[in-house]
Amino acid sequence: MSKTKDGAEKIKRPKKKHSKLIALLLVLLFIIALAASYVAYNIFVLNKNFTVTFYQVRSLKISDNIRVVELADLHNKEYGAKNEQLVKRIQSLKPDLIFYAGDMMNYKVDDYSVLFDLSDKLCKTAPIYACFGNNELDQYLFRDKTFKDKMKEHNINILSNEAADIEVNGSTIQLIAISEGRDQFDVKTNNAQKFLNSLEPTDNCRICLTHYPELFCEYLLNRGIDIAFTGHAHGGLIRIPKVGGLYSGGEGLFPKLTEGVKTVDDGTQVVISRGLGDSTKIPRINNQPELVVVDICWY
């Protein structure tokens, strides 16, 4: 037993052996609780609502600004009864055009009421133009040959490897829509490839509507496209700050084209929507569903 300076005996206090471990566990528990709360907040709050993202792109080929609202990857999801919230928000944005960038419904689900109810309401706000996503294309090719006609009946101007000249705010834009994904492009009988090769050069602003952003890494380069509207990547499902999306079906792990406006090698401005719905059970984390609004400005 040690002694103090004045000779008194110093009593050693018994040390608590696991205090550090308990403290560490407490901190760890706190961090896990925080992370769990964040995941729960994403699943039960953020993913049940959508955010509106605004982008501005430029085209000198138009004479007045054009506003486009892009919907992608809805996968039959509903925001409010019959997508009331979505319709109301789109109406408030006063778009000149509404684009569906594919996967608005699910393959093998023959009830199209979500898509058609939505379109019946939205067509009163602005004309709707759509391209096929992988879900719609499979449904059309392998399950329901009348699907395309049904879409037209519900005021959806569906374009599949086709072009259309549209007059908006005093400008003519050439809208082209590509149906096939990267896997089909290599096939010799590919319709999209044939369609692209048959396109004549134009002085008008050429806008491309396709579900697959990854096509702009190769197949859709140097095709005279000014602006493109895409989806498919679902924002990379889990978004890591400073890194971006974790995974997308078209690009695999750590995909590059998952959200925002990217200017690719030939100068095309590619708008990528994170989408409005889900097709897998993996929840979106830090990746709220979004409605994309693009103002195409002349200046």
Binding site: T4, V27, F30, L34, T51, L60, Y299
Partner: protein, 482 residues
């Protein structure tokens, strides 16, 4: 009554004791450590003892610090998401003089004007009644980026500004960054529509003339073509070589096209209208022209009278007296007097007489033209075929005008972009994680917390250590409550 009172006192004391015991139980390990150090290091100063206590208690202190700082970092991060900043650069020549592109005074605070903010809300699809527009206006901060702009000695007109917007809490489904981008768009739209070159001359709708007589339409078309031609020639003077790449058109080539339209199509139309005399109401129109001539006749007489009066006045003076008049003047640069030859009242009168004569001659010419038109119209037959032909000619001119307008607009927009290299550009500043969690504030907060803990321990050691255990509970709570 007394029994109730005693019961209440008893219950109150019981509650107080329970509270004291709970606090003592929670803090007893910490107070034991502090008390132990006080007795173990009795010869050391209280400050040293407090430091040693803190070292001994490092684990709980660290846990508290981590928890508090994590919560604070999260709070700062969320707070940072509710505001966004961008840097605006003015890239046109006049900006260095504090002017807009059309040479009106530039005001950076237009950014926070009601019109711009309301447009921003409209672009965002937000009903302006659902938010407080004034509070949004107040939440926009505009600062020149160049520090010299603030100095009175080095007066400097800034051409770049830092704009910060705090997102109102009632706007929920969009980010502050997006709201700021829409504010920038609203500002740009405002700038381009109000303060850049006035291009309204190019917005031409021929249908606005449909109520006018055919001959009046010819005058109006000619006037419009002249205005457009003048606009194009002004542009051509600014840049003679500019050519729009896709259409391969220049301002000069477009001005020539407008000139061709005037001298060929509009002239041809006018000649036809005068010769064939189509009219919706010939009698009314010729009567109107006669009335115009009557008024013009009066104007002519007035102008000639004014000319004669001035001429007579001049003749009354001896020309030799007024040919040269010297008046004393000052040369300010040399501060000396000199005699200058200057104009007199007679010179002005002579100039005015010339002007009146010229105006009278022009009026006379117009009267003669109108008389000629009246005679030709009276002599012509106002057939339905002629009216239809005149309408067809107008439609043809309309088509050519529309085509030309499109070309002019395309070239003009390309030129604006080329000349200004974007009047206004915005560069969004993306704050780093360090800035988002406000690392400096967190470090300060950590230091303050450590200092606070040190102070509490020091007070505990200095004033409240030792004594009766039961008393110790009440004394222990005091410093901790501070």
């Amino acid at each position: 009554m007394e029994e109730d009172y005693n019961n209440n006192i008893y219950l109150k004391r019981k509650r107080e004791n329970l509270y004291k015991r709970t606090v003592r139980k929670i803090f007893s390990p910490l107070t034991n450590v502090i008390d132990g150090i006080n007795s173990d290091f009795a010869d050391r100063s209280y400050a040293r003892k407090a430091l040693i206590s803190m070292l001994k208690l490092r684990t709980p202190i660290l846990v508290v610090l981590v928890l508090v700082l994590t919560v604070a970092a999260g709070w700062f991060f969320i707070k940072s998401e509710s505001s966004a900043t961008t840097e605006m650069s003015l890239n046109y020549e006049e900006s260095a003089k504090g002017l807009n592109p059309n040479s009106t005074r530039f005001n950076a605070y237009d950014f926070a004007s009601q019109e711009v903010v309301e447009n921003m809300l409209a672009y965002a699809g937000i009903d302006k009644k659902s938010v407080d527009v004034n509070s949004i206006m107040r939440s926009i901060s505009i600062r020149p980026t160049n520090a010299k702009a603030f100095s009175e000695d080095n007066y400097y007109i800034s051409t770049s500004y830092r704009i910060t917007l705090k997102k109102p809490p009632e706007i929920k489904d969009m980010s502050a960054k997006d709201l700021l981008s829409l504010l920038c768009k609203a500002y740009k739209d405002n700038l381009y529509s109000k303060y850049t070159e006035n291009r309204s001359i190019l917005d031409f709708d021929i249908d606005e003339f449909h109520d006018d007589e055919f001959l009046q339409i010819a005058d109006l078309l000619d006037l419009k073509a002249q205005q457009i031609e003048k606009y194009l020639n002004t542009r051509a003077k600014q840049n003679k070589t500019f050519t729009e790449q896709e259409s391969d058109e220049s301002f000069k080539s477009l001005a020539q096209k407008v000139e061709d339209l005037r001298t060929y199509d509009i002239s041809k139309y006018r000649t036809f209208v005068i010769q064939a005399g189509p009219s919706y109401d010939k009698a009314k129109y010729t009567k109107a022209l006669s009335y115009v001539n009557l008024i013009k006749g009066i104007d002519y007489k007035k102008d000639m009278a004014a000319y004669d009066v001035r001429n007579d006045g001049i003749k009354l003076y001896d020309e030799s007296m007024i040919s040269v008049v010297m008046i004393p003047s000052i040369d300010k640069s040399k501060s000396t007097y000199y005699m200058a030859k200057t104009k007199t009242g007679m010179d002005y009168m002579a100039g005015q007489a010339d002007d009146y004569l010229l105006t009278a001659q022009e009026t006379s010419k117009e009267i003669a033209t109108n008389e000629d038109i009246i005679n030709k119209m009276n002599a012509s037959t106002n057939s339905a075929g002629n009216i239809q032909k005149a309408k067809d000619m107008i439609n043809d001119i309309r088509r050519k005008f529309t085509e030309l307008s499109k070309q002019i607009e395309l070239v003009d927009k390309a030129y604006v972009k080329y000349r200004t290299k974007d009047y206004v550009t915005f560069k969004n500043s993306n704050p780093s994680i360090k800035q988002k969690i406000s690392l400096d504030t967190l470090i300060t907060l950590a230091a303050l917390m450590l200092a606070g803990i040190f102070a509490v321990i020091w007070l505990r050691l200095r004033y409240f250590s030792g004594g009766d255990r039961d008393e110790g509970v009440s004394t222990l709570t005091l410093p901790l409550q501070r």
